[in-house]
């Protein structure tokens, strides 16, 4: 068993990664509550935004501008998908809505591989000015990027929770999560609220895409499927509580990273999000409720 000192750097990376998982997890939960869609293409859209940012930087555009473009892109694509296919599938059950987003995932995936082919040794990478600069806490190095990862996760969680609680738009979203039909009859502009949710989720996807591209890898496949870790956190929170999503995301990030220094378990560290999510789902559903409504959660 490795020493406490050996674990420390992994706790740092785990927290940073967990913060970013929380970021996209929150996006998933808010969108699901407002529209009933589990946005499985979240990773893919963030990945494409990050790749666009990379290409623009390589073409000489200022980095901060490219990050903006990334957010705009992922927000726009998500909004477009939501506005076109949201109404078409609005009456279907959540499973169908989620499966449809898999279609978007496939399309984005194909486009990414067409436009950003990989060959030979080419590795694309996204770097932030904060990489490589940091401070020491005891005998562990912490880079500013890692601090940003965790800080953004916390900020988004608090911000979103406050938004849902205190603003009109947020309250409308919570009302729609409760019962869409009644909310509509109360005169809430349902389509506009949904649009806001789609756009917000898309922007969060873009932020997460950039951070993960820097912290993990700028690779279409890796980033697309990292959504599973955020999804695990969201599922543990039953797709309901923002704060619980954050906590779950931190736990997923920590467990995944802290398994690495244990020699016998290191190969299985990538299993952590899957196993945690599966266990959580099973524990949660112990009391079976059968309803005739189409609501799943």
């Amino acid at each position: 068993m490795p020493s406490w000192q050996n674990f420390q750097p992994f706790i740092v990376t785990g927290l940073a990664l967990g913060g970013v998982y929380a970021l996209s997890g929150v996006g998933l939960v808010v969108l699901y509550q407002a529209t009933g869609v589990v946005y499985l293409a979240l990773g893919a859209v963030g990945a494409m935004g990050a790749l666009i940012s990379y290409s623009l930087i390589a073409a000489g555009v200022a980095p901060w501008l490219t990050w903006l473009v990334c957010l705009l892109f992922s927000g726009a694509v998500t909004l477009a998908y939501g506005m076109i296919f949201g109404p078409l599938l609005a009456k279907r059950e959540p499973l169908v809505k989620a499966t449809a987003t898999l279609g978007l995932l496939l399309v984005l995936f194909g486009v990414m591989d067409l436009l950003w082919t990989t060959s030979s040794g080419k590795v694309r990478s996204l770097t932030f000015p904060t990489d490589g600069h940091g401070f020491s806490l005891g005998n562990v190095n912490i880079t500013w990027t890692q601090v940003i990862g965790l800080a953004v996760g916390i900020a988004i969680t608090i911000g979103t929770a406050a938004f849902l609680r205190f603003t009109k738009l947020g309250t409308a979203m919570r009302a729609m999560a409760n019962d869409r039909e009644i909310t509509a009859t109360l005169g809430v502009p349902v389509r506009r609220v949904e649009a806001a949710a789609w756009l917000g989720c898309g922007i969060l996807a873009g932020i997460a895409g950039l951070l993960l591209a820097d912290m993990v890898a700028l690779d279409a496949t890796t980033l697309t499927f990292l959504v599973i870790s955020s999804l695990a956190a969201a599922l543990i929170a039953r797709l309901r509580s923002i704060v619980l999503t954050f906590v779950a995301a931190i736990v997923v990030g920590l467990v995944q990273n802290m398994l690495v220094p244990i020699p016998a378990l290191t190969s299985y560290s990538n299993m952590a999000p899957f196993v945690l999510a599966a266990v959580a789902l099973l524990l949660i559903s112990r009391r079976r409720v059968i309803t005739l409504s189409r609501e799943e959660a």
Partner: protein, 371 residues
């Protein structure tokens, strides 16, 4: 639950369906359909290998394998309304079991396939049993999670390559022996025929299930689970039966795959492929057995063609993505069901133009259990 037929819950319909047998005789005479199937089979078994180059024979063997996988997924998605996002992991388990048995024992091939199917069936049901409580979306997501975990385990364990021990994997091997094929089917065309025959057996197995009691129970559950429960159907048992059948068929497909490729690697079974399988099953038609064949062709023949023509496979991925969304929004029963309907409509339109006054009474094949 996934209801690809998009029919609203109708308790009245369910109740009446339960009172009388759900199976209506198909509109066409069964004899004609049987003859068509036999002729097609004869052509595929004896004509195709002569006509195609070995490159395409290999591709068609893969079509047979993945048609079986699509068949299994079709049972879950189309018949019962359970979604699985992890079929590729099931395929991998089947391939692994078959490879281990083929290396470790000298058993005849059909027995190995049967055993691989059984192992996969047991594993599938055991893993999914606690999850059957979950409703549609959560069930789908848990299959994704379980498949991801299995994929990681397999990547670490590696596939058998002739070594000993439980895993059968020897990391020191420099001359990895190929996974053997049945002695009557060692050449590629012969193995293609063998795979097709295995697929036919699997299709027959599923068809029998559909026409008998499990099929009726599944239809009731797909219509409305609470109503089915209320009518006294043991939904958990029948759902488990569907999972068992789907896992068995996919396990056998995995065994067939192992013999086709001779060498197994973790890269053969990326989690991403589960999504592709789902896409082609939806596009081909989850409800229709022919849809599974279409799915296999989409997934394995098209890429082989594209590769030969120099077109990137990314276009196919994009096509599948569009296909998924299109199917879910407009053509819930998939191509295999939509195509004959469209053709029938076209036919009647033409006939209507030719013979004006005759009101074409369209015998719609909707609702019938069209395998």
């Amino acid at each position: 639950m996934l209801d690809v037929t998009d029919s609203p819950d109708s308790p009245a319909g369910t109740a009446s369906a339960l009172r009388s047998p759900l199976l209506r005789r198909p509109a066409q005479p069964t004899l004609i359909r049987a003859v068509v199937i036999v002729v097609l089979l004869v052509f595929v078994l004896f004509g195709l290998p002569q006509l195609l180059s070995l490159y395409y024979v290999d591709a068609m063997t893969q079509v047979a394998v993945y048609a079986m996988v699509a068949l299994g997924l079709g049972v879950l998605v189309g018949r019962v309304g359970l979604m699985s996002l992890g079929q590729v992991a099931v395929l991998a388990v089947g391939a692994w079991s078959a490879a281990r048995l083929l290396f470790g024992t000298g058993q005849p091939y059909p027995l190995v396939l049967l055993e691989a199917g059984l192992v996969t069936m047991i594993l599938g049901t055991v893993l999914l049993l606690p999850a059957l409580r979950l409703r549609g979306l959560y069930l789908a997501l848990i299959t994704l999670m379980l498949a991801g975990a299995v994929t990681v385990v397999l990547a670490t364990l590696n596939f058998p390559n002739g070594g000993g021990g439980f895993s059968g994997y020897d990391g020191n091997q420099t001359h990895i022996p190929p996974i053997r094929r049945p002695s009557i089917a060692t050449s590629d065309p012969a193995y293609f025929r063998y795979s097709v025959l295995v697929a036919v057996v699997m299709f027959a197995l599923v068809a029998i299930h559909i026409r008998t009691r499990p099929g009726r129970a599944w239809a009731a559950i797909r219509q409305s689970e609470p109503s089915a429960l209320a009518a006294g159907i043991n939904t958990t048992a029948y759902k488990l039966w569907a999972v068992a059948l789907a896992s068995f068929v996919t396990g056998v497909a995995g065994g067939t795959y192992a013999g086709a490729v001779h060498y197994l690697y973790p890269y053969d079974f990326p989690a991403y492929t589960s999504i592709t399988i789902l896409a082609v099953v939806l596009m081909g038609g989850a409800y229709n057995l022919w849809g599974a064949v279409v799915a296999g062709l989409l997934m394995q023949l098209l890429p082989a063609l594209l590769q030969n023509w120099g077109v990137s496979n990314d276009w196919l991925t994009i096509l599948f993505g569009i296909g998924v969304v299109q199917v879910l929004t407009t053509a819930p029963r998939g191509l295999a069901d939509q195509f004959p309907k469209d053709m029938a409509k076209l036919g009647h339109l033409l006939m209507g133009l030719v013979r004006r006054p005759v009101p074409a009474a369209v015998p719609e094949t909707t609702g019938g259990e069209t395998p």
